[in-house]
Symmetry: D2
Subunit: 325 residues, 4 copies
């Protein structure tokens, strides 16, 4: 049965994330190891629509395991949201004789995979996005690198804050999910953290935390803000107005997207890439590779997209214990 | 019932690991948050024997979350292996009125905790060791930092290897456990990896891998060796003799022990520290904090020490797929 | 004659810079080596006014050579600009019996040193500021670390730009001096750089550079802006309006101020600190330590502050050659 | 007159050094900017002998400014030391119509350049070697990156030393020149440093330094050894035998050769590359680009190779002041 699968494609879609290259490498090499040919599709779904492809052999993915970004480029495609666009993508798959596609990206990528699956193309999704906003998996490729980048930047800010006795507001990525902000805040010992999942309450979430910290002897205050919770600049202004402090605001922005992937991102990307090929080789489709309960598994895409994630209340409680003290 | 616990001690023992400071900080601050006093015990079990202590308040653990090493120092103690030594440690606990002790370290530390528990002192262990050689937990504090340090060093070696078309042998830590070596090898895309869990077979594990890589077009070969599997220098000599290559041997040694902890190590250290205090506050003893199936739990120390770990065969298989190709 | 100097003070003033701690360490230890006592003055000139001091022995500067920020804190002081404030500072020197003061900081710090010198206190300045805006020296402590921090951040942006085919605008520090921006731009291979020394001409400095790059086959454009030349956000808006690109704007801000100092900053800080103590020990005053023509020398503060620096035309020409191509 | 130069070659030879790629990029792009064609010669002099070339356009050096190693590979060539080899290299130059060659490397590379110049080929050398062992220049490309790599590794060792109260011996590169070791020792605040320029005297250089440090209250001792001064392992053994300490020995080896070049190395490489092309374009030959007295200049190769460098006595004195205290 495995023999049915002769040729697959691999693409990256949505925002890029460190580790995507390591994942592409794993898909290509484990496919070759199974005797399956692999085609690279450039610029995500848009590349599948337009037949923007490149042949992939083992050497083509040499020396990329440690590179940020994605060698296959990525793009968002409006056309792929239309029926016509999806049909053109299906046609490309047929023309190329692709028995399956591995799509690395976020929620939007998985919705695309879902559509393509409905039209008869075997697709397996791999979660790759720095803000870990995919509900069905406990890990998304790129998160660890983004967290470490943010932590290193904030460590630098702390050095200079401590020299001057100051307040700092740092806006990190996370439009819909606050896990990255929460994680980073815990790792830097932040005074307070604002996440989109908790309604913004300046008095309770910021003022009280800063006060408790000041009363406890601290003279430096680090406020971490997920971009989806509030604007870092607005929070800074409010602190200036309400507390008479003069906070410095830093917006990390796309710095968090780049950089050589951490060991964790490379290993997860490799393991997920190998797993995705195994699923396709076993003749399954419409699956998404997930990390759950410490294991890499695969799950039905529809089921995965239906799930609802909330912030782990236990981690929120730990954060509550550890901040502002 | 929680009120019973009024004062606890915290110590680090065995080899130090990045994240130990973050863990000490979490123990101190979460204890204080529960109204429990906290005493720092310096130089591990030896400090408990000799009453080498320091008072800990919230400020005493300021600005250490990002520091490598351990502010409480660590040492190995022969005396603590004797009955007399253990009795003196118990006496110190009684003198200081310690209702419990949090001991951060490796297997040896847990055996010490076991002994002390038998003598009536409530002890909770937290796994802190860079080579992840503790059988009952899927994570030990310091592993992620050590892995990233090794990966960064090997990335540097790859730069210069690629300029010269060479072979490199890198010896990483891991006397009894090869997980660190395996993980690092996967993260750098090594040609071959030697671990203590698999009997050393030069022909099969090294020669064949290098040959397959060379036949596949590669001209650079990276061999990762866990110190417990073989000596890096010996492997280098054998490659020189048998294959006519001129490998460079690098021994990373204690570089892997130091450095500012990664985000992951800080977060795990914080969460495990909070959990250990919770277990003590709930009046339990002889427990070890573990990370299993993606969750932080606590387990009986005896049970934990009885467990046997082998390398995850699935990860070995992934490694087999991904190396030498 | 050297014996005249028995006790000196050391302070850091103005914005902090990586390497200040290494410099404090060198001042303290080389003074002690000459049998001169050393007093730390906290929070810059303001600390000298208020007698905010700490005793310094050899151990007090242990383990700080690799730390960002300044252990003596720094602050800006309005009071020190008044005659009354300066007189109070002189009084503190007399009370403490300080035979000299080493002041580490920027232009403003040197003006303070000048005033104090006029009132009979021996003062030697050491240039410490990340944006290298001090005219009389070719190097200021902190510059190298700030440059490397900016370069690492921009390298990360390049990863993600290359995945998406984009334009990036990065604002770096440099209110009055563009050398940091120019240096960073050269190190990252920027498409264009805007510095305060050259009047802002969007058409010539940005549009033409981007066009030349695009015609030369590039699809990614990195624009580096010194904060004193233009606002990064304004430049981004203009690019959007005039060229139809959608640039990402990043403002590095105070991230550039922190971090463990580079080897270069530690060595320069050490050598300059040793030199400042030598100058004071030789009974000289009103001097500033400079790096000129590859050598560490000392110069009269008045003379130093009178000098005018312009951007090295040769470096500008190299930049012109290397950008936008 | 400049028009005479129509086509040049560029090669890297000897050990690779971070920044070589940035230098190749600068040579290629500034040549193109002057209307001069540029050919890449692979594997150093050996590639010139064998005609191992690649065409270079502007795009061929895109995205390499931040890469360690050398895209042109490097090798040592015994054949080039023979008259026949040199003649074959000259023939390649004639066949390809090369009006000049830029050779990036160390002393050996410059001797090659000298020979080739004698045979009528215009050659300009650029100093690229991590151990700064070229006598005529104050800077060699790669030194700053190697120093920072060593410093980062030693900072990690210090973390773990401080947890355990230990002695560490670190062997750094430098077969004939101790400047890298001296510089690194100053940057990490080493207890002692051994350089090839000073005859090895264990009692005076190591024992006395450790004793002074211990008497001054230190419990950690960091000994930096240049590979040309002594074997790190031998020094460790002697410390064990004579002082009863149990030192950890680390040999950094080729880790120092790799890694993304620092800002300083990229800027120096760029400026030196531009200068080399200018010299060739002006019709000069047999020159080496040097950094002297804070300026980039060019010098006659014969004169450069005749110079004798000794360690700056002032830096040695500073080191003497700052270590062991």
């Amino acid at each position: 049965m495995e023999n049915a699968v002769k040729r697959i494609g691999v693409l990256t879609s949505g925002g890029d994330a460190p580790g995507m290259n390591a994942c592409i490498r794993a898909v290509v090499r484990s496919a070759l190891g199974r005797g399956i040919e692999c085609v690279g599709i450039r610029r995500g779904w848009s590349g599948l629509i337009n037949g923007d492809i490149m042949p992939m052999d083992s050497a083509s993915v040499s020396r990329i395991i440690n590179r940020g970004g994605t060698m296959l480029y990525t793009a968002r495609s409006d056309e792929f949201r239309t029926e016509a666009g999806q049909q053109r993508a299906v046609n490309t798959c047929k023309l190329l004789g692709l028995d399956g596609v591995v799509a690395i990206g976020g929620d939007g990528t998985f919705r695309g995979a879902q559509e393509l699956s409905k039209r008869g193309i075997a697709v397996v999704g791999i979660p790759g996005t720095i803000d870990e906003d995919i509900v069905c998996t406990d890990y998304t490729i790129g998160f660890d690198t983004a967290a470490n980048t943010a932590v290193e930047c904030i460590d630098r800010l702390r050095d200079t804050m401590q020299s001057h006795e100051r307040c700092s507001v740092v806006e990190v990525m996370g439009r819909h999910a606050g896990y990255l902000a929460l994680y980073v805040a815990m790792a830097v010992g932040a005074t307070a953290v604002l996440v989109p999942e908790v309604p913004y309450d300046f008095e309770h979430q910021v003022v009280e935390k800063i006060r408790r910290a000041r009363l406890g002897g601290k003279t430096n205050f680090m406020i971490v803000v997920a971009e989806g919770a509030a604007s870092g600049i607005a929070v800074g202004d409010e602190i200036r107005r309400e507390l008479g402090l003069d906070p410095r605001v830093t917006i990390l922005g796309h710095i968090q997207r780049g950089g050589s992937p951490t060991a964790h991102d490379r290993v997860m990307a490799t393991r997920m890439g190998v797993e995705a090929v195994r699923v396709l080789a076993e003749g399954r489709s419409s699956r998404v590779i997930c990390y759950r309960d410490g294991r890499i598994i695969d799950m039905d895409i529809d089921e995965g997209l239906r799930m609802q994630k909330t912030l782990d209340p236990e981690e929120l409680a730990v954060m509550e214990t550890m901040t502002g003290v």
